[in-house]
Symmetry: C2
Subunit: 208 residues, 2 copies
């Protein structure tokens, strides 16, 4: 627990230790899912004993929720950055790029969410039908505006977002399959980006 009488050095050390534990937890939860992850595994990845981990977090579930909570904002950022006043095709291109960057740079985070959601999102359903749903509804409205203005082909905006999530996160979540099928291709993210841009941007521009 954070106490009143502690020095800055102490709380910095505590914050650093908590961060180390959360990083280890991310590693283990992402690779095994909530049930598959063990406190011993997390402790080992963090380089400390299991009871020591439990000194910083009250339990396994609390660590898991702390992780998901802390990552949600980061996870929503790319969509939040899509501006209603930009050029539609460029805004979408940017969004696809940012999402693909997330898959490339933060595969563990992506797999953490993937594991949770595949198993029915028992612990983050509230976040999905709250914060996420609101944001999607807001951005869907933006896309509807672009469609109404004839700047994009008429598609369901929510399902368009699903398609962007699916295709980009695929490279993190199903990396094992991507690598098994396509080989260990260091260029795979560049190829993916080119393919997805062609597909989405060509696919969404009206043909007069």
């Amino acid at each position: 627990m954070a106490r009143a009488g502690q020095t800055r050095k102490q709380s910095e050390a505590r914050a650093a230790t908590e961060a180390r534990i959360l990083d280890a937890a991310l590693e283990v939860f992402a690779a095994n899912g909530f049930r598959g992850a063990t406190l011993d595994g997390i402790a080992e990845a963090a380089g400390m004993s299991k009871p020591n981990v439990l000194y910083y977090f009250p339990g396994k579930q609390e660590m898991y929720v702390a992780l998901l909570d802390g990552l949600m904002e980061t996870w929503l950022e790319p969509l939040e950055a899509m501006r209603s006043d930009g050029e539609p095709v460029e805004e979408l291109r940017g969004y696809i790029r940012r999402k693909l960057d997330m898959a490339r740079l933060y595969p563990r985070e992506s797999r953490l969410f993937a594991n949770e959601i595949v198993q029915g999102a028992p612990r983050i359903e509230p976040m999905l039908s709250g914060r996420l749903r609101d944001l999607v509804e807001e951005k869907a409205e933006v896309i509807r505006g672009w469609i109404a203005a004839g700047q994009l082909v008429a598609v369901d905006p929510v399902h368009l977002l699903f398609a962007i999530w699916a295709t980009t996160q695929h490279y993190a979540d199903f990396d094992a399959q991507v690598q098994a099928v396509a080989g260990e291709d260091a260029q795979r993210f560049e190829t993916a980006q080119a393919t997805l841009e062609t597909l989405f941007l060509n696919g969404l521009q009206p043909r007069d």
Copy 2:
């Protein structure tokens, strides 16, 4: 064990029981992943005791592999049905439809594979880099032919297949998220189909 001296009735009963167990196992593995699934859970879903389940299958792992093995063919069918001598846009439309039908009709099967692959495909990697990879290479060649003939926009065929897998399986694997964000929409598969067809088919057809 199957014995020489058993009647047809007996082996039929055995096959039926095995099928009942595998169905229960599919339910439980798909919802919880390999590690999260318990023999007790499978036994309960199958309406029998745990040792009785183990009378039919030697162990948890064997049940899991039996399931994946048995489902792989079904899983590859939609892609196998894509004909090189058809009209490219129609062939792709058909493939997308079949994949989306799979997601709609067999969500448990989809989530079973999803769980396995998200966690690094530890038990089916050989199948992915064997049978699946070969099939993908074969069909990628077909798509390359269509592109060379100017019938499709130039995209990487393997990544195009990834995009089709990702977008269609999304509706099974991440159904919890789809429903949280879009509400419990009974029409979601129809809307998805329309959106994906617009996106992919418009996106893949050359302009002018």
